[in-house]
């Protein structure tokens, strides 16, 4: 500006003026670009307040607003995960016999991906995508938190004002009727009626440490989940109903159906295929938890890649359900969700969730993938919850781990392995 003051136009001043004119032109041009995200994002591209339009529709609205306000992200080389050989074999072996029942239930399912051939013109494609999501490969069992230093899930609740609270926990999953690697296969005898069992143990802070839940999901679509809770302050197991699935699992912003993006009973919802879409995701998270400013959820050093997804709209059959709709973006290969968007009963934008993934190794050295950090933001109250939950797969846990006897052995802060 010094040169202008002096009455002379330097090259720098000229460049500034051109940039200003270009910016004005861009502002006028923007409305045309509102729904046209840039599918040609290249590794090395940087997206920020000046070119946020390039990722519009590829991330959640709240995240996009943060980019508009100054956050920048970088695009990296895409990483494509490939299904495990055993899962592919099971899909080839059993998928031919799988059918949808009159109420959308899955018939004749044994293991693998139920519907490997997706036809956009199929009137039942939504329901089939939902089942593909539900039966995506998640190992035969896994310990969440098992692949992080310290072996714990790290959960941080961030208030609107930026204050934070931490909690540590660990969880164990088993899929007793869809086993691909560990014997017995494909199902543990006696457990053919159980889709999955989850054991979740809080370990920090001290007063909640030892709080343990045992959740059992049954294959029978009419049977609700069983949930038992061991409460250390009374040292007893209490039965909990699971039909109130909308209740907030405070202080987090998750509810029972938000776990793993969508944890509802498949047959309790209707599904609509909205099309295919490229979105931004991170399949190679580098730090656990990722670097961020205190009080903020935005990942600072992580890069993003473009991923091909199916967009699936989920609407509840129950008119009193907390979400009027939920949209999942399902990875076309693995059926994991990268972005999940939720609207409240009034149809107003409510929550958005993104999940990073990371490569992990099986005990035989093969590389698979695990969720890394998941972020859920309630855009209405401004609170965010981050969960860093890397998985260690195929640990060979005995099914007896998921029994009430385990709950009776929990000590304060203790592990169960």
């Amino acid at each position: 500006m010094k040169s202008i003051i002096n009455g002379q136009w330097s090259i720098v001043a000229l460049m500034n003026m051109l940039a200003l004119l270009f910016g004005l032109a861009l502002l006028l041009w923007q409305p045309l670009q509102v729904k046209a995200a840039d599918a040609d994002l290249k590794p090395g591209d940087t997206i920020g307040p000046s070119n946020w339009q390039r990722i519009q529709g590829m991330v959640g609205e709240n995240f996009l607003n943060r980019v508009k306000a100054g956050h920048t992200i970088q695009i990296k080389e895409p990483k494509i995960n490939r299904p495990l050989k055993e899962y592919v074999e099971a899909t080839e072996k059993y998928s031919g016999q799988v059918r949808l029942g009159p109420n959308g239930e899955l018939l004749n399912y044994v293991a693998g991906q139920p519907f490997p051939k997706i036809d956009p013109k199929d009137p039942q494609i939504g329901q089939k995508l939902a089942w593909n999501f539900f039966w995506r490969w998640l190992g035969d069992d896994y310990k969440t938190g098992g692949a992080v230093e310290g072996g714990k899930i790290l959960r941080t609740a961030i208030e609107k004002g930026g204050s934070e609270r931490r909690a540590d926990l660990v969880s164990y999953f088993i899929f007793p009727r869809t086993r691909y690697t560990l014997n017995p296969k494909p199902a543990i005898p006696g457990y053919e009626h159980i889709d999955f069992m989850q054991l979740r143990i809080d370990s920090y802070p001290r007063d909640s440490s030892g709080t343990t839940s045992l959740e059992i999901r049954y294959g029978d679509p009419k049977r609700s989940d069983d949930l038992y809770l061991y409460i250390p302050s009374i040292r007893r197991i209490r039965r909990v109903t699971t039909t109130q699935r909308c209740q907030t699992l405070a202080p987090s912003e998750f509810n029972l159906d938000d776990i793993n993006s969508f944890n509802g009973k498949i047959t309790d919802f209707d599904y609509k295929f909205l099309g295919e879409k490229k979105i931004l995701a991170n399949l190679t998270q580098e730090k656990f938890p990722f670097n961020r400013k205190p009080g903020d959820y935005l990942p600072l050093d992580e890069k993003w890649q473009v991923v091909d997804t199916y967009t699936l709209e989920i609407t509840p059959k129950d008119p009193d359900y907390c979400y009027s709709k939920k949209i999942l973006h399902l990875n076309k290969v693995t059926y994991d969700t990268h972005w999940t968007l939720m609207w409240d009963k009034k149809g107003e934008y409510y929550k958005e969730q993104f999940g990073f993934f990371t490569p992990v190794k099986l005990s035989d050295g093969r590389e698979v993938w695990s969720v890394g950090t998941v972020v859920i933001t309630n855009v209405q109250n401004g609170r965010t919850t981050l969960v860093t939950a890397n998985r260690a797969y195929n640990q060979g846990y005995p099914p007896s781990l998921w029994s009430l006897a385990t709950l009776q052995q929990i000590m304060r802060g203790g592990s169960i392995e």
Partner: protein, 536 residues
């Protein structure tokens, strides 16, 4: 032991814990550092509870500021995964109530002539290095687990009150009754040395066999009950605890055991308490649990010494002449051996005739064969209750059935919440005691009040969280249809900037038409408390 000497170990331990983390691993070397990092975890809490009486107090408690509690608790806890199948958990509990010195002085000045005395200054303190809990968990197979050491064993399904949860005794000296929001059962229950084994027969149906044996090595703690009768007066002392009731509730109960010697109709009760020796102190129990569909249930049996205060009885041992016109009734306070046939169930009800119910139903039942009760006959001498001619020792035994039924549900009440999906947890419970083959004159040992054939209590509890669970209100209510109430409202602040801190403001409030019955005898003991906790 000198007072300062006693608390020195506490300071030493504190300084050790504060100084240790930064250096220990590097001093011990890489392997130890790895072991300590991966297999050892350390936690615990510091706690301060301050209580103010909002009732009128009594003649035995005239401190000017009604400052009834200032309790510091430090509880370090250590978990060690020794090897793959063996774990160790140890905790210690250190308690200091510096305020009690003032109370003891106050009582000494104001209390009536001997044998009434204040408690020792250090009565509520706990400064022993004996572990509070110390258990070895050994899991030789996926199906069998064995827990050895000083431990808690809690059966049952109830919330706030205990029915089947009678395997460990509870310390009722420092905590107010019916106030689970102030001290939960984990803080009041006393661990016992013993062994417990769980064998999972069929995990998919939760078919589990359980066995425990507790030899009862622990020494008994002096009682400071709510009423005079519970005190051991044979040593010439009567001690009043924090929750000792208003003096008029202490009634002369000796006349219910004897009419006295000829010409000596005034009865002076002299109470002694002989605690069972280790041989009598054994407790053994076994249980099997199982699922049928959505129903989870268990059946069990407990045999042994019954430590529950409410189940004690007086037994007339002898009478002897006392001062002129008086007879001394030597009465012993006893806990009998007990057999308890126990059962529990829980069941989740999603809907009833198509209407959403969303409620977990749970129940407990305990059958006590030949449970002892004190008994008297009315009218005795001078139209007052007197000894029962068919029960010369003042005791009768009756089969007794106790059960509870509880209903738990989470309910969304959007107009009462800033987050419409933060649920209110509600719990409603019914407790009943039925004395089979009931006789008129059966009385509670402690208040000498009559016990009807059927006694009923109700509890209701509701809790929720506001502002991301930084404000946590919880209300516990107790109701006895014969005219008694208790309320324990609480609100906890859990700051959004530090998960280690919790501050709870709570009150213990009692109403009762009759100060001779529970909880009416606590009617003038209404108090408020501030509890501050730092967890690490």
């Amino acid at each position: 032991m000198d007072h300062r000497t006693k608390i020195f170990p506490l300071y030493f331990l504190l300084s050790l814990f504060i100084a240790t983390p930064a250096h220990a691993a590097s001093i011990l070397g890489g392997e130890w550092e790895k072991y300590l990092t991966e297999r050892v975890s350390f936690s615990g809490f510091f706690d301060n509870t301050t209580g103010l009486s909002i009732g009128a107090g009594d003649r035995h408690f005239h401190t000017t500021n009604r400052f009834i509690m200032n309790r510091f608790t430090f509880q370090p806890e250590l978990n060690v995964d020794v090897v793959e199948k063996l774990k160790l958990f140890i905790s210690w509990r250190f308690v200091k109530e510096p305020r009690y010195n003032a109370e003891a002085r106050s009582r000494r000045k104001t209390v009536a002539p001997k044998p009434v005395e204040p408690l020792d200054n250090t009565f509520y303190d706990e400064d022993s290095f004996k572990p509070w809990e110390m258990v070895w968990d050994y899991n030789p197979t996926g199906s069998l687990s064995i827990r050895l050491g000083r431990q808690f064993i809690s059966w049952g399904e109830t919330d706030g009150l205990r029915l089947l949860d009678v395997i460990n005794s509870a310390d009722l000296t420092f905590a107010p009754s019916l106030a689970p929001n102030l001290f939960d059962t984990d803080e009041t229950r006393i661990p016992s040395w013993g062994v417990r084994a769980l064998y999972t027969v069929a995990p998919v149906t939760n078919s589990i066999l359980e066995f425990f044996a507790l030899p009862g090595f622990d020494e008994a703690k002096q009682r400071v009950d709510e009423v005079l009768g519970s005190n051991d007066t044979a040593d010439g002392r009567v001690v009043y605890g924090r929750w000792s009731s208003h003096p008029e509730t202490r009634m002369p109960f000796g006349r219910m055991f004897t009419n006295g010697l000829a010409g000596r109709s005034t009865i002076i009760p002299v109470v002694s308490r002989i605690l069972p020796d280790a041989g009598d102190n054994w407790k053994i129990g076994s249980r099997i649990t199982h699922n049928i569909g959505k129903l989870n249930f268990g059946l069990g049996y407990i045999w042994g010494y019954n430590p529950q205060g409410g189940d004690m009885v007086f037994k007339l041992r002898s009478i002897s002449p006392g001062p002129p016109t008086t007879t001394i009734a030597n009465i012993q306070l006893i806990n009998d051996r007990t057999s308890i046939f126990a059962g529990h169930f829980n069941y989740a009800v999603d809907e009833v005739v198509g209407i959403p119910f969303n409620t977990a139903i749970r129940g407990e039942v305990a059958f006590y064969p030949s449970e002892p009760y004190n008994i008297s006959k009315y009218p005795g001498n001078a139209f007052r209750a007197g000894p029962h001619p068919r029960h010369p020792d003042g005791i009768t035994e009756k089969n007794t059935l106790r059960y509870s039924l509880g209903f738990d549900r989470s309910t969304l009440i959007p107009f009462l919440q800033e987050d419409p999906y933060r649920a209110f947890r509600m719990s409603f419970q019914i407790f009943q005691r039925i004395i089979l083959d009931h006789e008129d004159g059966i009385r509670a040992f402690s208040t000498a009040n009559k016990i009807k054939m059927v006694s009923t209590n109700f509890t209701f509890r509701v809790g929720t969280g506001y502002f991301g669970d930084t404000i946590l209100p919880d209300v516990f209510l107790f109701y006895d249809p014969t005219g008694y109430w208790a309320a324990n409202p609480a609100v906890t602040y859990a700051p959004s900037w530090n998960e280690k801190i919790k501050i709870t403001l709570t009150a213990a409030i009692y109403w009762g038409r009759d100060k001779f019955s529970f909880p009416g005898l606590l009617d003038e003991k209404d108090s408020i408390f501030l509890k501050m906790r730092y967890q690490f």
